[in-house]
Structures are given as C-alpha cells and as structure tokens.
Amino acid sequence: MKRILKLHVNGEDFEILTEIHKTLLEVLREDLGLTGTKRGCDLGTCGACTVLIDGKPHLSCLTLTADVQGKKITTIEGLAQDGQLHPLQKAFAEKGAIQCGFCTPGMILTAKALLDEDPHPSEEKVKKAISGNLCRCTGYVKIVDAILSVTDKSSES
C-alpha cells in the first residue's frame, strides 16, 4: 500500500509517495536517487548502509521509512558544503583510505557522528566506533589514520 511519507534529508524536506514497507535504504536509493548509501548485506551486519539519524549512526537497511518521519537524516550526499568536501571526505581521499569505496559512505558518516560527539577521540575509541563498518580492502589502518588526521587538524586550529 502506498502512502505519502514526509522526510527531512540533508537539510531538505521531501514528500514521497511510496510503499509503507520500504526501508529507509530503499527509499533513499530508489525514490530519492541518493545512491551514495550502499546496500551491502541487507541484514544489519556490514554497516555499508549507515546514515545519520538525528546525528547518530543508524542502519538504513533495518530502518523503516515510516519510522523516521520528522527526524533529521544525513546521507553522504549531505556532507559537502558549497562544493567543498567535508574534512573527513578530504582526509579519506588524501590518506588513501578508500579502495573500492563501497564501505566509504557508511564509514565516513560513522566517523562524523563520533567526531561530532568527541572531537578528540583516542585511536581505540575510533576503532570501536567503526567496529560496525566492514571494509574488505584497506585493512582499516588507513581509515583510522584518516579519521585521526582530522582530529589533529582541528586541535591545531
């Protein structure tokens, strides 16, 4: 059954006519064309579909769209401002923390939630924060480096 759902994504309001049983992942990718959010395992294990809901990392594959009306949803497309990449996006590119790129959107959003909560996390805390985001290419070292490099920069300024 189709319903009109109201969503607030990346600072914009949307009204979408869609099936009520769709997950947020499906609506983002299929109805809004925001394909930066990836479908990995579709079972909540891999973290590739991570988006921010009210600033916290959530799995969009296990989140029903009907449930997040009125909440603030941030996807990877919402990070760059005025044509400028977010510092985390820059750091990932510069530090070689991306290979195939499939885990990257979820990884960066999870890292953003961490840094918003704690701008100077320890390495251990970074590792724990991204423990729900699977990467099969990089071995995590460069990802952790990239995240930590952003915390260094902000501490210098």
Binding site: I4, I20, L43, A66, D67, K128
Partner: protein, 330 residues
C-alpha cells in the same frame, strides 16, 4: 545535494522517480540478497499506549506483530520471506524506554536500547554487568537501534541480555487483553524463539529486585571476534560470600548460547552454596555447569568446544567476582 528534487513536491518527486528508475534495475551479481523475499505488510501502526498495541494485536490476531527496533524481525522476514498484514510499532509509547530506580527496584522499559542500558548511570551503579552485556551487543549501529524487549522476546539462546537478567532474578511485566501479569524471567523462555507471551501480549517492563549490596556480578561473552558476533558461550555470575570463612553465601550462574534457551546452572549453584570458595570447589562447580549445558554444533562452533568453554568461562567469572569482592570495602 547530489540530486536536487524540488522541495515539498510530491508529484514531481514521484514523476522524476519513475523516469529515474525505468530500465535501470541493477542487480548485484554476487549477492543473493535480491532473491530474498521483500518483507511486506499493509498496515503500520505507531501506537501511543501499551493498551492500544494490545487492542490492535487482538483485533488482528495472527496477522499482526510487534516491531521494536526491527533488528531481528526485519532481518528474519527478509531471510525467511514471511510477511504479516500489520506491524505494531511500540517504540513511540511515552516512557517505555525509561530506566529508573524506584523503591530499591530497577525498572527497565522494554524499548530501552542497548546503548541506553550501557550508558545508564542507574545500571552502572547497581547492575554493572547488565550494562557490560549491553555494551557488547552487535555493533554500535545495532546498539542504537535494537531494544531490551526485542532481545528477550526474540528468545534467541544467545540473547546477551538474558544471562545477567537471569542472575538478578528479574521479572517480566507483560500487558495483555486481560490486564497485566508478571513472570519470572526464569520461566519466560520456553524454547528457541519461543516465550510465554501469547500473540496479543507485549512485554512492557523488566523489573530487577533489590540486590544485595555485598554481592558482586560479572558478565563474560566469548565470541569469534570483538564486534558483530553472537556469543558462542556467555556467562553471568552473581556471588556473595562470608568474608571470614570465605564460604559461598549466594551464587547464581546464568548461561547463554549453550541450551535451547538461556538457562541457570542450578546444580552448580547448589553445589557451591555454603562451601568454601577455593580452587577445587570452583572447578567442580564449573564442571557441573558443563554437565548442565546442552550446546549444539553449528557454523560457529562445535558442541564439544562450547561445553568445554562453559567450564572455562564459569570458572573465570567466579574468580572475577571473587577478585571484585576482595577489592570491595564492606
């Protein structure tokens, strides 16, 4: 914005969506996930009171189901391909996620998330091992989304919150058409995936009775890795002793993942009570717990390994409680 859909414009968004999708259904050639049946339901109720939930569940008996975080339910629907007519979302019921300490009791609302539990100052002070267990569930994302009620009602033998609640002799407060009832958690689970709840009842609250101040508790989880893994064996132990004699005054042992439901190792408890806590008695209790467990073999571990580890982990947990007791000033 990557794709600039017009604001507040249903017709255009939908129109554009159709052109966008046409002929562009791409499938991942490796993943089989596109073969899974899409979970499907026609109605989605976001109820505001437990009574409302019960009423809908009664009216749509057999065709409706409670959904909390959905981390178990949606994943299972997707894998097993079953659908229901209606889902009843209980996460918007005011107060149902509260964690309170009241008249010596600790009350945990059914939709408290593992993250809520792990950060709760009440639990950190009075029932730390439950906070510990919650902080080890799944991944950070799962801990933001799952719930206490879902963890228990899903009735997985591996539910991490069950062993700590078993040793605290917690009670489940259940709301149904005929009013409310309380069931000791010990008799809440009836088999893998099964509980005493009937289809139109919901779990409202978990109540932890007053705990002895001089007791110590520990939760240990053995997984194959640190994150995103179910327990191969989990153990919770509650211990109090006579300090002078070093005799065991109170012992409760909860085990997860090693029987059709989370269980108490009651023979091991009976063996240890009143005995002096030394290497020999602790080892014998651990062996008794091994005999009481009935683990299965599956993709994650063999039953022999699991049973062996019950012994190791029970012993380790009792020793950890002892250490904590020795460090405690009473």
């Amino acid at each position: 914005m990557g794709v600039g859909w017009p604001r507040n414009d249903v017709s255009q968004a939908v129109l554009k969506r159709k052109t966008f999708q046409k002929g562009k259904v791409m499938r991942d050639p490796v993943s089989k996930s596109h073969l899974w049946k899409k979970p499907c339901w026609e109605k989605y109720f976001r109820v505001k009171t437990p009574g409302e939930a019960v009423q809908i569940l009664e009216e749509l008996q057999g065709e409706s189901r409670v959904i909390a975080g959905g981390t178990d339910l949606l994943a299972r629907m997707r894998q097993e391909g079953f659908g229901v007519k209606a889902l009843v979302d209980i996460t918007c019921i005011p107060g149902l996620g509260e964690i309170r300490s009241e008249d010596g009791l600790i009350r945990l609302g059914a939709v408290a998330t593992p993250k809520d539990l792990s950060q709760s100052s009440v639990l950190r002070e009075k029932a730390f091992c439950l906070a510990q267990a919650a902080s080890q569930i799944g991944t950070p994302q799962i801990r933001n989304l799952g719930t206490l009620g879902g963890n228990l009602c899903n009735a997985s033998p591996a539910a991490d919150l069950a062993p700590p609640l078993l040793i605290f002799e917690a009670k489940a407060k259940i709301a149904g058409g005929k009013g409310e009832r309380e069931v000791p958690l010990d008799s809440f689970f009836t088999g893998p995936g099964q509980t005493v709840l009937n289809p139109s009842e919901i779990l409202k609250e978990i109540i932890i009775p007053e705990l002895r101040l001089d007791a110590s508790a520990t939760f240990l989880k053995l997984g194959r890795r640190k994150a995103a893994d179910l327990a191969l064996v989990s153990v919770a132990v509650l211990l109090a002793m006579d300090r002078k004699e070093r005799t065991c005054q109170l012992i409760r042992i909860g085990l997860g993942s090693v029987a059709p439901t989370p269980i108490r190792a009651k023979q091991a408890e009976a063996f240890l009570i009143g005995r002096r806590l030394d290497d020999r008695s602790i080892q014998e209790a651990a062996q008794s717990a091994m005999r009481e467990s009935q683990p299965i073999s599956d993709v994650r571990a063999s039953s022999q390994y699991r049973r062996e580890m019950v012994g190791v982990m029970v012993e380790r947990a009792i020793r950890k409680c002892l250490e904590q007791l020795e460090g405690k000033d009473v």
